[in-house]
């Protein structure tokens, strides 16, 4: 299996075996980091962040630096030629000669795909609007793999904003590749999964889907509880955001009846959807998730660049 030179735009770009190879390498690097600390020596990662991001950008930067590579890029599109109206195609055709791999976040859905069509080096989608966030998906999967041992026979619940939550869309699509997965989709009716994703899920008759607005009713059946933030920046209407922002707030009281080996995950940053009293609850794994995400990104970039120890 060779991923060298490939782009990573949509989780569906990769087969289950290819995704699994990234997770396996990520966990191998996590256990033996020193063996991989200079595999990217001489490589440059370019970060094109057209939208503010702290942890995704720093996670990628940390990943590249931990492999001995260098980083360059921008994190504010207003300070670049983009603000002068340059097209993505032109930006990419210049920047792909400055870096060996490009990491792109953009508020417009489909922008990284457009970039990949003009880039001679691998492009990784680091989030495009409310659409996809596939490297977060690798972060989520590596965490499930690490704590559960395998990704199968699980009831995975998504709670909060399932309409605009791109991490949710990416993870759901990818989990459809794994065996015996049940989805419990918990949201207010205004923030249910988008129609196109629902149509895709209908193609998998073996996948069980439960849609509900009640977390409490289903908490005892869940193996993974994936909480999401109601994102203000995705709403065109402030009034609608205010109405929905406090729909689900997870605290210790709501875990009554939950499984002992439940995993509570969150792509971060959180606002108030997970109470601080959850942080020292042993089933909360969102900070470990962020940590494992660095190793998933190291493995992804190593494989796309074709470097080995």
């Amino acid at each position: 299996m060779n991923l060298q030179g490939r782009h990573f735009i949509d989780p569906n770009d990769f087969t289950l075996e290819e995704i699994q190879s990234i997770l396996d390498l990520g966990l191998e690097i996590y256990k033996n980091p020193l063996e991989y600390d200079d595999i990217c020596k001489g490589k440059i990662m370019g970060t094109l962040f057209y939208e503010p991001s702290t942890r995704t950008r720093l996670s990628f930067e940390s990943a590249m630096l931990r492999m001995g590579g260098k980083v360059l890029g921008f994190s504010d599109a207003n300070t670049t030629s983009v603000a002068k109206g340059e097209s993505i195609a032109d930006t990419i055709r210049v920047l792909d000669s400055y870096a060996d791999i490009l990491i792109m976040r953009h508020p417009r859905e489909g922008a990284p795909k457009l970039a990949s069509q003009y880039s001679s080096v691998p492009v990784i989608n680091a989030g495009d609007g409310g659409h996809q966030h596939p490297s977060q998906t690798l972060t989520d999967l590596i965490t499930i793999q690490y704590y559960k041992g395998a990704i199968s026979n699980l009831n995975v619940a998504f709670c909060g904003d399932l309409l605009f939550g791109r991490t949710v869309h990416s993870l759901i699509r990818t989990l459809t590749k794994y065996p015996k997965i049940t989805f419990t989709l918990i949201s207010p009716k205004e923030l249910k999964i988008p129609h196109h994703l629902r149509l895709d899920l209908m193609q998998f008759p073996d996948i069980k889907i439960i849609e509900t607005d009640s977390l409490e009713e289903h908490i005892s059946e869940i193996d993974i509880l994936y909480m999401t933030r109601i994102q203000k920046e995705r709403f065109f209407n402030e009034e609608e955001y205010v109405k929905l922002k406090d729909s689900y707030i997870l605290n210790r009281d709501k875990l009554v009846g939950a499984k002992e080996d439940l995993l509570v995950l969150h792509p971060l940053p959180r606002v108030n959807e997970i109470s601080y009293d959850m942080d020292d609850e042993p089933r909360s794994k969102y900070f470990q998730q962020a940590k494992l995400g660095v190793y998933a990104r190291m493995a992804l970039m190593a494989l796309l660049l074709g470097v080995t120890k």
Partner: protein, 142 residues
């Protein structure tokens, strides 16, 4: 009764759903060709009850994709020496490049002039097209 003579050589776009003829006339830019063109509206039809017909004298390039998008019931007859030499049934296009505007205002195709939207047909009871950039489903409307 209105009588329009047959054409010796040209194209007849037949079985247009009544009321769509004028839109097709405009979409195909037939007001800009310099050969004789006739648009017939509300003609009696055994199959459709009423239909519209467009007759174009001489051959001009007709975009079949856009016809399929607007009205897949259409048939096209190619005429040579007063006889139909080819009859084409229009089909709903499976791939469409341009022509459709993605309905998702957050899609990159709304702001980047460089990108040409590409769509793939999705049949889910309705006829919709999936944007290759943002995956949102859009229905083509005249």
């Amino acid at each position: 009764m209105l009588k329009v003579t047959s054409i010796r050589k040209g194209i007849v776009i037949d079985h247009i759903t009544s009321g769509k003829g004028l839109k097709i006339f405009q979409k195909l830019n037939l007001d800009k060709v310099d050969t004789p063109v006739v648009l017939l509206m509300n003609v009696m039809s055994n199959k459709l009850g009423r239909k519209d017909i467009i007759k174009i004298q001489d051959h001009v390039d007709v975009d079949l994709t856009i016809l399929g998008l607007i009205d897949p019931n259409i048939t096209i007859n190619i005429i040579e020496n007063d006889t139909i030499v080819e009859k084409m049934k229009i089909e709903i296009p499976t791939k469409v490049t341009g022509m459709i505007k993605c309905k998702n205002p957050r899609c990159i195709t709304w702001t980047d002039d460089y990108v040409v939207p590409e769509f793939t047909l999705v049949r889910n009871g309705d006829i919709q097209y999936r944007c290759s950039y943002c995956e949102e489903l859009t229905k083509y409307e005249l």
